[in-house]
Point group: C3
Chain length 367, copies 3
């Protein structure tokens, strides 16, 4: 079977809303961009959609924010292209440039204009199980087989997708959207929060004491607090606190398959990329970035705007603004300097030995 269709263009009408057309001036306003029409560009240009540079036609708008794709810009047939001032004169003559210092943000807004997020479809699916004591706001959408337990509270225009479970007493602020198969317990969730399918929020933290006949559970009597505008990726897990709350600061973005341990506190607008893990009681300042597969030990503090690289293993506090990488974590420059030095020194040693007819260091490690 061929599952690809002919075009491969974005915005497949089977899946996505489509608005428009929009005049170039409407797009420019939305994008906070300046219009610079090429010498051969039509006036009163109307755009019907978005497309990548290599596929766009005269009816579509595209964008460039990465120098490596510059050849695609000069060859594009797009009607309009969002670019930085540096690339404005590289736009072909038939094309209109939308010039802005932040083309990716402009792109986000223009693409959202053409493909707006789907609207809330108010109503409770007949198969959903909603407790009588639950408080349901106005224009709430509750999908098939969703479970809303006693005392849960949903703000206006909240969306609860198919099969999600909102545990007893959980609050969800207005305009938040919960994907399919999510479980929420012991949690207070802010406004405009998005939780993707399969995320697990509020279960017991990993806490136990060593008793005479095995491990004994330590009650986990804190909650999970998710502030406004947070997003949490698919199949990620956030444990509730043991003695205080686990807190995700406003605006923070968490990717898929991330683990957040009990009592962790993340600041505002942090970014935590896929498969990273933050151990219990660790605290992040605002605007901290944790790259993919990085791991943070428990009970440490990461200063504001610090950046933790992919696969980094952080075992102690990190200063604000620091760039760390490696396992154990080191400043970015030092880590790569060490790597380069070891490579060079090993090679030199090999060459010396070969020259002196000494057998080379075994390639099979002893481990």
């Amino acid at each position: 079977m061929t599952v690809h269709d002919e075009t491969g263009l974005p915005g497949d009408r089977r899946f996505f809303n489509r608005a428009g057309p929009f005049n170039i001036t409407v797009l420019a306003e939305k994008a906070e961009a300046e219009v610079k029409a090429g010498p051969d560009a039509p006036s009163g240009l109307a755009l019907h959609g978005v497309a990548p540079l290599q596929a766009a036609t005269a009816a579509e708008v595209s964008f460039l924010d990465n120098r490596r794709y510059l050849p695609l810009l000069t060859a594009t047939r797009a009607g309009a292209v969002i670019v930085t001032p540096a690339f404005a004169d590289k736009v072909p003559p038939h094309c209109t440039a939308l010039v802005t210092k932040n083309p990716y943000l402009a792109w986000a807004r223009v693409a959202t204009l053409f493909h707006p997020r789907r609207s809330v479809r108010p109503g409770i699916h007949p198969t959903a199980s909603v407790a009588e004591t639950a408080l349901i706001g106005r224009d709430v959408e509750i999908g098939p087989f969703a479970v809303i337990e006693d005392g849960a509270k949903l703000g206006d225009q909240v969306v609860i997708s198919a099969h999600s479970v909102v545990g007893a007493g959980v609050h969800i602020g207005r305009d938040s959207r919960i994907g399919a198969h999510v479980s929420l317990e012991y949690s207070l969730i802010g406004e405009r929060v998005i939780i993707y399918p399969g995320a697990r929020i509020g279960q017991d933290g990993f806490g136990f004491a060593v008793g005479p006949s095995g491990f004994e559970a330590v009650p986990q009597i804190g909650r999970v607090i998710i502030e406004d505008d947070v997003e949490i990726g698919a199949n990620s897990t956030i444990d509730r606190g043991s003695m205080r709350d686990t807190v995700i600061g406003a605006g923070t973005r968490i990717d898929n398959l991330v683990q957040i341990g009990h009592n962790a506190m993340l600041g505002k607008c942090c970014i935590v990329v896929s498969q990273a893990g933050i151990s219990g009681s660790t605290e992040l300042g605002d605007f901290v970035t944790i790259a993919a597969q990085a791991g943070l030990i428990g009970h440490i503090k990461i200063g504001a705007k610090a950046r933790i690289g992919a696969q980094c293993g952080v075992m102690s506090d990190v200063d604000a603004g620091a760039d760390m990488i490696g396992s154990p974590a080191m400043p970015f420059r030092e880590f790569f300097r060490n790597v380069a030095w070891v490579r060079k020194a090993t090679k030199k040693d090999m060459e010396k030995k070969e020259a002196g007819s000494t057998p080379p260091v075994s390639e099979k490690p002893a481990i």
Copy 2:
């Protein structure tokens, strides 16, 4: 919206049971601790709950087991504090010390007294789908939309939460609790086991042979055996065996997002921390600890009480009691000695070069 409430104290009454008050002698007995009242402490002290040192009032009991929080102890207003003998004389005069060699275990028991685990609520939710051939014990709780397939067998007082699927023929021992959205297939599960939301137990292992026109599946005809008192974290996955069983030994604790491959055998009371992975056919002795994000290759043996550090990559057998870290894994001391030596040697080389006006080693690695 403010999702935090004013106090942030543990034990939010919307979410947690609360028992008590309890007399200090009751707590001391439960904690197996000795009562040492301060000179200004009231007699016949009754405690109403638990709280952290910095928030506790005269009606609450707190605990200290980490030297770094000692300043909080001397300043606390708590009515009672659980401490080790070493800290007993640091407790303020108004306060009663509960002195024990194992304060964390004592804390687990005292906190459980105030916040007991929620009781089983016997009954089958009307929306659950229970096969006629399933054997259901006494006082079992089955939540909304749960599925119990043919020939499944649930012991007394088992809890199956919303949306979980207990596959055909699966056995679950008494007093076990299965969280929401769990799937169980081809598995035999012991008593007092806890499985957290979204865990996947018993699916096919990752096994295939290379055939002339692509991969061909190898039937996975073993099971998953989970012995008594095991806990398995949210969204963790345990594949069933191919030719023998995958076995999780009694009392073992597995955290969130852990992967256990087919035919793996874990001993008793092992600890496997978040995002660690154990490949197929690998065997762990008793009391092995695998820290977060560590990975074990397949077909190796880890001796009893060995400790595998965070992000460690283990490619060969590990002796009982060994402490390993690094990727590839090395003894703990050797790994950190190597790291320290490379840092020092690289720095020395840099300084020498700078002194001799040679351009420094490039900071951008060749890779």
Copy 3:
């Protein structure tokens, strides 16, 4: 409770189908193997099942493909054993050898003969929620509480297990099987695809722009394309594309807890082992292997047949056929040479210092 049963043999009748007995010649044909009966082997041998070498009886067939288990072969009581030509003469006299160059493939086929995959049970469970506009093929099986949304299309003999959600417009090709608790959105799925429980396919990619008051979402208007014969492991996540499709090439095998970022493109017959992560827009050629817990940065290309080792961190393009390991990634030989050299040099330095009575390098790193 004892959850183990007496035998521990594979193929527990409570869980697995069982066919047979089969004559040795039928097995040989299926296995594309040559029959070499031992001097004391019975003629007209009929086999009733499969078992490991150490447990097999005269009625069972076993196999050996790893030299390390050779002692088990010489001691086995199995009626027949699948082996390579090199081991054919090591089979005991009472036993019949099935000789083939690819014993693991032969094993896959023979074991499948005895334990065939369970058949489709056509029918829609009465609790399932199927949209009127969904197109359902012949002999489709839809389990309890499954949700099939508007415009979804299921090919003949598709299986949708309990609690899975097939989103609006999603296509699934014939003979594909979707496990329990899977969510599928914005996806086109080929034939004979298997998706294991809890996988999340088609949710928004991790894309946002930095705006003046926080992050702003970038619409993700691509899809997920899963070609024929792909398998996707439990709790793995595959995000849909932002501007183009995320594509998983035909025959590719993805293990549990794997993350595939938006716009990633995997070639044919790739293998991606547990907990590995492939960042956005990265492209894999055909027959690429990514071992467990490896991570690939975004926007790079991995050449055909390259092998990326466990926990490897790949930050740049990799040539076809290359063997890479380490973080940052290096050629396999170079990585282990570096590790060996550092271990040796550190040890030498330690010894020199000890000899000269200089205090040793601190074992506690500065970090």
